[in-house]
Assembly symmetry: C2
Homo-oligomer: 478 residues x 2
Amino acid sequence: MADKKLVEQITPMEEDFAQWYTDVVKKAELCDYSSVKGFMVIRPAGYALWENYMKVLDQKFKETGVQNVAMPMLIPESLLQKEKDHVEGFAPEVAWVTEGGAKKLEERMCVRPTSETLFCDYFSKVVKSYRDLPQVLNQWVSVVRWEKTTRPFLRTREFLWQEGHTVHATLEEAEERTKQMLNIYADFTEEYLAIPVVRGQKTDKEKFAGAVATYTIEALMHDGQALQCGTSHNFGSDFAKAFDVQFLDKDNKLKPVYETSWGYTTRMIGALIMVHGDDSGLKLPPKIAPVQINIVPIQQKKEGVLDKAYELKSKLIESGFRVKVDDSDKSPGFKFADSEVRGIPLRIEVGPKDIEQGHAVLVRRDTREKIQVSFENLETETAKVLESIQNDMFQAAKKFLEEHTSSATNMDELVEIVNTKRGFVKAMWCGCRECEDKLKEMSGITSRCIPFNQEQISDTCVVCGKPATKMVYWGRAY
Amino acid sequence: MADKKLVEQITPMEEDFAQWYTDVVKKAELCDYSSVKGFMVIRPAGYALWENYMKVLDQKFKETGVQNVAMPMLIPESLLQKEKDHVEGFAPEVAWVTEGGAKKLEERMCVRPTSETLFCDYFSKVVKSYRDLPQVLNQWVSVVRWEKTTRPFLRTREFLWQEGHTVHATLEEAEERTKQMLNIYADFTEEYLAIPVVRGQKTDKEKFAGAVATYTIEALMHDGQALQCGTSHNFGSDFAKAFDVQFLDKDNKLKPVYETSWGYTTRMIGALIMVHGDDSGLKLPPKIAPVQINIVPIQQKKEGVLDKAYELKSKLIESGFRVKVDDSDKSPGFKFADSEVRGIPLRIEVGPKDIEQGHAVLVRRDTREKIQVSFENLETETAKVLESIQNDMFQAAKKFLEEHTSSATNMDELVEIVNTKRGFVKAMWCGCRECEDKLKEMSGITSRCIPFNQEQISDTCVVCGKPATKMVYWGRAY
């Protein structure tokens, strides 16, 4: 049995979801508060997850022709101000560097909150003709936004992300790239993180500062709140005009380029916790787990037990699994609980009796199901069980999403559902900003996205009753 | 023949080494100046190199138990000031953030110039007992130091690096880790970058701010100037005491930990250029080259030529090589020059006649040697040639290093050699700071390191004539 001493320190989810989240983050050693207010230290267990995110995404990006670069960390104020909507969106939340090398700077510079301005400045130098297009670039960096209230992974003054920036000869090509990257995010989130998402477009109110169109994937957390998981923006040629990024086309005419950007961040570690975690801690999908299998020797001081554990480890590593043996001097009960807190998908117990009988016991983190497997079948059975865990975790999350997605035909109904059952509510919208503003003011509910898969819930806007143009997913969001 | 139009834009090395360097950086598209003064944009070709550095080093680190983390980008002034020597060393060259979220900060924060203070602050929270030791952490990030004069890769206000930080229960263990990491740097630099290095210890004058001992690897550039390639520091317990990082040892006593840090940076892209490059451009060692083989089709519009080029590419990729086909509409001459500028180790030419005769022509970037190889032997011959290139490039650099390493027994001789022949000069030293200061003031010559392999050049200090204690490598450095 799992040792209670370890798990008791996690506040039950039903009692206080926010505290449960913080407890899991701390107990699973994903991150730590630092002495720098609003900033976090991403600890080895958290960073190993991010490394796996990066590895898979970077590979997927490169298969579509993405090249990585490194832009400066600081942006001079004059550069940030070149695009009007963009500076309005970001200027209030940036950190300003005003002194360097013991001198006051002639012009202050902000720590990048995002790098459209730097990429545009770069594109304006290297793009001359249609031969130089498209430029499909990306960087893996951290950005700073001076948030007032912060929560580990979800909202911090600094977070890690990738930001892709591309320029194209035509609007159609830019649009295609914008959607292509959104689909990469969606597929990764579903396939690797086992988190089902809704794909759609942001309303004008919710779109990125300076974008013509913002596409998004939205997921539902255990507390029924929505989380924006990844966004992809089509800027048209607004930025290009502001930064004078032009190219000589085949017809010998100077034309502005069309630009996109797209980002995926460490907040998706927060999503992993809030979609899959339980009162015993983290629950990691096998495909993304830094350690997939934790071998716990039972009565490890008895002759042959540790040797057997190491032997199984070697075999499983040879078969391509990520494995550790917990050979610490703690009790098995402590080790079980510890393995659960950290969310390791599969635990393998092996003791003197098991060795005698030629088998080990596999314990799934997600269902706690115990499976006896003979040593000779260990690799093949382990592969099957891990695949099941991955699939079952996705199906469980999908079921939750479906059960927490409702429809409403008027505003009272919408607000009532979000306040009681929570989750997403599908409802029609006239397309007016005023209706979104009104709903948000009254109830804190926001439009999450206009999904690509449209349905006709009713004929009139859920807020004003005028003819509807779109079906929208509504909800409360992180 | 290589097209002159492309190569003529590179200033000959003998004419102006600094300008040659800048030309190569620009023409090989490694990096670009940005609108942010003193900062650089690392372009795809430059970043792909850094990605290869990271991949190999990260793997080597992890094999020794290193775990990656992410610390905050900003350091509050009070934290920076905790260790006296450290703040004195870095405070004059940091960038200060004084405003955040449209408000003046209560305490200013610097953009990390290095992160000892943040790691120590973290260690003080997570290290409680001997069970928590060692902590062997690393991060891949960028840092900011407000340099007055800058040069791409070699000295910029922001550079990319990894910074490893560890804490240990004993001084011996810390010392062992310090040297272990220096040897990883040295082996990587020699084996992958084909750059021979001198391993040794920095003098007190040249060591890192706050360190008890700094170890270094030093290489020689084509112009005879030295470049510090990677450093590893043993801090003893000075930082631990300043930050109160203590642990309860097995004997139930509270003890300070012993700390190390070690770093390797993007300046090593600069080293690659200055050790191997020539008047035609970059020259990349095959083991680190993002593209190892550039297939150039000759008369590519003739039927079957491009198909053959793609076929060879597929075969070579299957054999594990990194290959591209230059199928642009440029002339072969332009493509040859372009391939040389970018330093691609091997060019494979294939035209209608070659296809008829069943062979391709391999052209080495380093020696320009041409080798005819039948299609059936292509993969095995290519492997051999790439291995030769790697070895020969290392041997050539080693020969240069040996030819530019002299000995001197008095100061006039030392200065004379450095001023004429340049390179390293081995000479004895009494161990006094004053002698180093005097030599630097008079001639700009600095101690590069006290090499691990000591020799007895003479009995007296090359500067003051008093009894010598150590043999030192002296030179001018970047």
